[in-house]
Structures are given as structure tokens and as C-alpha cells.
Symmetry: C2
């Protein structure tokens, strides 16, 4: 039990039955019809997801954003948040709470309750409740069908570059990225590096894209949080299908590749396995395409035979679920 | 902002408006009518609420119980749980999760999702969703009226004795209490000590009492988790009333007093301020009384004038909100 998707599958095996409130999607669905609600809970932990000295306002918004991304993957609108905070005495609690309320307010939802406690290390947890828009359908991982096109809500891998920069000391202070300790501050890559730090620390959940997908006759979706490769495997496993990922369709640029090299990484590998992207990966019937305003990218196709393949310059190679795993050693 | 009730009041001030999903009660209420749901989230942290080496099964059941106690104080029935776990590599995750599923199953609810992550210290968080029974009403802190009788769902202070014994090394292993390291293992107080350790580590949420209260025309309730005195102050502040607490009505016994003395404490002080009791404190009109099967205890009366008083042998003394406070230094 050392991988997060093993956990969900294991939980499901321990609680057999076809009930919709069983684990498996990015959020649990409780109830039916108009009263149905999506519930999700996610954590941001000092030294694991965020640097311990991160600006508490950016921390609070990131905590909300990673949870909103789970609702986006269900096609849901947020309704309310609960917040629990386990923090050491020196944690700037008041600033953090004020920022959490403001961030919830930006999405029109109340911070309706929660709990605070002292703790030797800082763990912040948010629960979100969401509902469908009128006429919407829940997005499920299990809805992909052979012949569907695969799409990404935005490019992937940039957040993983930002994570490496943050590990080297880059920070976001208000809206300003401080690159000084990273060694790329004065290089031609600085603006790409700033963008990567922002993408990592201040992800933008794709709620509107999720709502559009929810209005379609059929769409499968998952939040790419643990790496494109791993999350594509999850989507395909849930749907009982395979997929061909078009590597040439994934966005890359000489600057991203140079920055990755500077940070000791290979950009295409980060795009496949970097994690923390918080963009939607979705499957749509071949006659549907998302409106251009979302900037979604076609990245492959769903096939009937199980197995995930990469296509590069016409050749197919198997793709392993090697994405970021929170519990891997 | 160094006290938990200050936090809730502060959150409410930051989010003005009379909406029912604002903080203030033991759970937030989302929606109206038959579709309304209660939401609550609470934490159990190693070294704060539970000893780091606690049997993971007992830990999981305690995490569920403290959350169920919040639903009990709202008059709600549990529907589903989410679980987030932030734990070090050596934490017995599989045993803990199996116990959490089993504990939820005992209450007929699914463990519907959550998140797991590595963390330098162990923080476990549960969110519960609840609903009213048919014909039930939400219990609120603000519903107490002058002339009401005050009741406790069970005696208080025993859990605080158990907490002190656990701090001295007492443990619950399966159903067996191990008192060896505490120095009271072979004393005449051993059976009282075992009961106190059980009360502390394995609290029994008063869901049935909450459901009965919810069926009454009017009842105010709060979960006594931070000490009778502090939670009585909260109930009275929310209702805009005062109260007289009948100290002679609180259960005590020579054995509880001797055990407290053995542990360097004064039992009546623990009953007022010990905390972690997870019993309901409630106010009911003078003509109503809870059925005998609940074993509830009459402990005072609600008065119109603000201020909380203790009555002992006919004399009144002011009572300060000196209960256990998670954030006090």
C-alpha cells in the first residue's frame, strides 16, 4: 500500500458494492438528482507540498486551488469549504485564515467551519462541497470509450520545473517571483522560470472547463495531479480501455528544455511524470471539441485494447505509470 | 487569536451575514429543507490528541468518534466520511485504514474518499456529512431560553483523568487497558483508572441522544469537548443568556477524587475544565426531560441575565471559561 491509487483501489475492495459514494473519482458523490453533492478533501503539508516559509496567503490559495481542481474534474461548482489547520505556534495563523476566507470569497463560497490545533508540523486540510450546474452531469474517470480523443486542459511539466526552482529557494511574494537563490535570476531563462514558479505555487483550477465538459453528452475527466502518465493510467483503468498518447502533441519549447536541463531534468520526462499540474485530462467523442477559449490541447486517442502507448514520430512505445507518487520511497 | 472560540467568532466577523453555512455551531449546515446537510471536520494529531504509539485501530475509532460527537450536537445522522492522513513512513497506514473503514461500517456509513500523504508528523483528519432524521430539527447553540433546564449527556471529568493516565504511559490495546507504567495498576483505584483510560481513548458519541433532542420542539446543544465551563460559556453566548450550574449535581465519587489526587489534580476542577468529554450539554424547556435510557444528568438552569454562575450548597460564585483550550500556551 505504498501508492495513492493502490489506496483508492484497496479502499474500494474493502467496501464492495456499486454505490456512487465509494472511492475512485477525484471526489465522492453523495446523494442523487438535484440534491447530489461532490465532496473532496486534500492537504498541503509544510516541507512536502509547500516550503515551510511560504507566504501564508499563497499557501491558503494553493490549498483551495488543489481542492477546486478535484471539483473541476467532477464538473462541479464549489458551494462551501471546511478548513482544518494543524500548525506550530509560530505559524502565521491569522494571516493564513484571512487569506483562506478571501480566496473562498473569490469563488463565492463561505468558509463554513473547521478546526485548528497545535501540531509539531504544519498540515493544512480543506474539504470542499460542490454541485452540478443545472443540466450538468458528473464527470467520471470511467466514461472514456474507444475512439474518443484525449485532451489536456493546458500544458504539463511546467509546475514540476517550478517545484525544482522552489526547492532551490525561489519564492512567490505577493505577485512577485524571487529567483535570486536559484542561479537563473539573471539568465535569459528568468522569465520562463518565473512563469514556472507561478504555475507551481499558484495553480489555476480549470473549473470553467469542467463545467463545459459537464454539459456535454459524455466526457471522462481526471485532475492531473500526480503526473500525466499516472493519471492517464488511472483514467484508462477506470474505463477499461487503453490509450495512445501523442508525444509530439505535448507543448514544449527550447526555453522549457533549457530550463529543465539547467535544473538537471529532461523536460519531456517532467511533462509525463512531473506532477502537480492541476489541469484536466479528458476524453471526448471524436466529433466534440472544447471551445478555443479554454486553450485545451489534443494529446491522443482512446483505444479498446488495454495498455498505454506513446507515439513519437510514428513509432509506438509502452508508457509506464511512472508519475509522481506521494507515498513512493 | 489564541483560543478556538475566538477563531469561530473571528471567522464569523470576517464573513458577515446571517447565512446558515457560517461558522458557529459544532457543524456547518449546508442547504435547506430535506436536502440540508451538516458538515464537520476534526483532527487527531500524534502527541497532541493521541499518543504517537497508540493502537491504530483505537486511533481511527477515536477520530470517527470525535467527529460523530459534533454531528450528535447538531441532531444529525452520519451519511458519509472523508479521511485525510498525513503520516510518517513508519505509520501503520494499512491497519489504520482498515480500522477506519470498519469503524465507519459500524455506523453504516461509507469511507467515501480522502487523501494520504507523507508528513514529518502524524495528523489525521476526518470530514463527516450528516442529515436530519425525518421530522427532526437541527440543534443549535443559540436556542437556549431563560427558564430552560441544563442537562449533561453523561458525567464529565473522567476523560481528563484518562488523559493524565495516558500521559503517564497507560494504553488501550484492543479492549484491554494496560496501566503498568502509571503506578496505579495494583491499587484499589485500578478499575476506576481503567474506566478513565477507556473513556478518554474510546469515547462514545451520543448520537441517539442527539436524535432524540432533534425530535423535540426546541433544544439547544453543544458537544462538550473543550471543558464543561468553556462550552457552557459558548452555548450561553450564542443564545444571549446566562446560566447557573449546580455543582452538587455533577457526578463525583470518592474513587474519582482519590484517583485525581493520585494524579495531582482536583476532580471537581477536571469536571469543569478537563475537556475531551464528548458528551452533550443541552438546554430543554422545564417541562421536557430526556428518557431515562440516556442517563442524562440535570446540571443547572438557564437565566436571562448574562453571566455563568456555579451553585454549591446554596451559594453562587462566578464561573470563568477556563476549559481546555487547544491553542492556549
Amino acid at each position: 500500500l505504498n501508492r495513492e491509487d493502490d489506496l483508492l483501489e484497496w479502499l474500494r475492495r474493502q467496501q464492495p458494492g456499486a454505490r456512487r459514494d465509494r472511492p475512485g473519482d477525484d471526489a465522492a458523490i453523495l446523494g442523487r438528482g438535484r440534491g447530489a453533492r461532490a465532496l473532496t478533501a486534500d492537504q498541503q503539508i509544510a516541507g512536502v507540498h509547500v516550503p515551510p516559509d511560504l507566504d501564508p496567503g499563497i499557501w491558503a490559495r494553493r490549498l483551495l486551488a488543489v481542492n477546486l481542481s478535484d471539483l473541476a474534474a467532477m464538473g462541479a461548482r464549489p458551494m462551501a469549504a471546511l478548513l482544518t489547520v494543524a500548525v506550530p505556534a509560530e505559524f502565521p495563523l491569522r494571516t493564513f485564515l484571512r487569506a483562506a476566507i478571501a480566496a473562498c470569497g473569490d469563488y463565492g463560497i463561505p468558509l463554513a467551519g473547521g478546526d485548528i490545533a497545535r501540531s509539531p508540523c504544519a498540515v493544512t486540510t480543506m474539504t470542499l462541497v460542490g454541485r452540478l450546474a443545472p443540466g450538468g452531469k458528473w464527470l467520471r474517470r470511467a466514461a472514456a470509450r474507444p475512439g474518443d480523443r484525449l485532451w489536456l486542459g493546458a500544458g504539463v511539466g511546467v509546475s514540476a520545473l517550478g517545484q525544482r526552482l522552489v526547492a532551490r529557494g525561489a519564492r512567490l511574494v505577493g505577485k512577485r517571483v524571487v529567483l535570486a537563490p536559484t542561479g537563473v535570476a539573471s539568465s535569459p531563462l528568468a522569465s520562463t522560470a518565473r512563469q514556472a514558479v507561478r504555475r507551481h505555487l499558484a495553480p489555476a483550477p480549470q473549473l470553467d472547463l469542467g463545467l463545459w465538459l459537464s454539459s456535454q453528452p459524455r466526457a471522462a475527466a481526471i485532475d492531473v495531479s500526480d503526473g500525466l502518465s499516472q493519471d492517464l493510467h488511472r483514467l484508462c483503468r477506470a474505463s477499461g480501455v487503453g490509450a495512445v498518447l501523442d508525444l509530439d502533441g505535448l507543448p514544449r519549447s527550447p526555453r522549457l528544455e533549457s530550463l529543465a536541463a539547467e535544473l538537471g531534468a529532461h523536460f519531456p520526462a517532467l511533462a509525463l511524470a512531473g506532477g502537480e499540474d492541476y489541469v484536466l485530462l479528458f476524453a471526448l467523442g471524436p466529433r466534440r471539441r472544447p471551445p478555443a477559449r479554454f486553450g485545451a490541447l489534443p494529446v491522443g486517442r482512446v483505444i479498446a485494447a488495454p495498455g498505454i502507448w506513446c507515439e513519437r514520430q510514428g513509432a509506438l512505445e509502452p508508457l509506464t505509470p511512472e508519475g509522481w507518487d506521494h507515498l513512493a520511497p
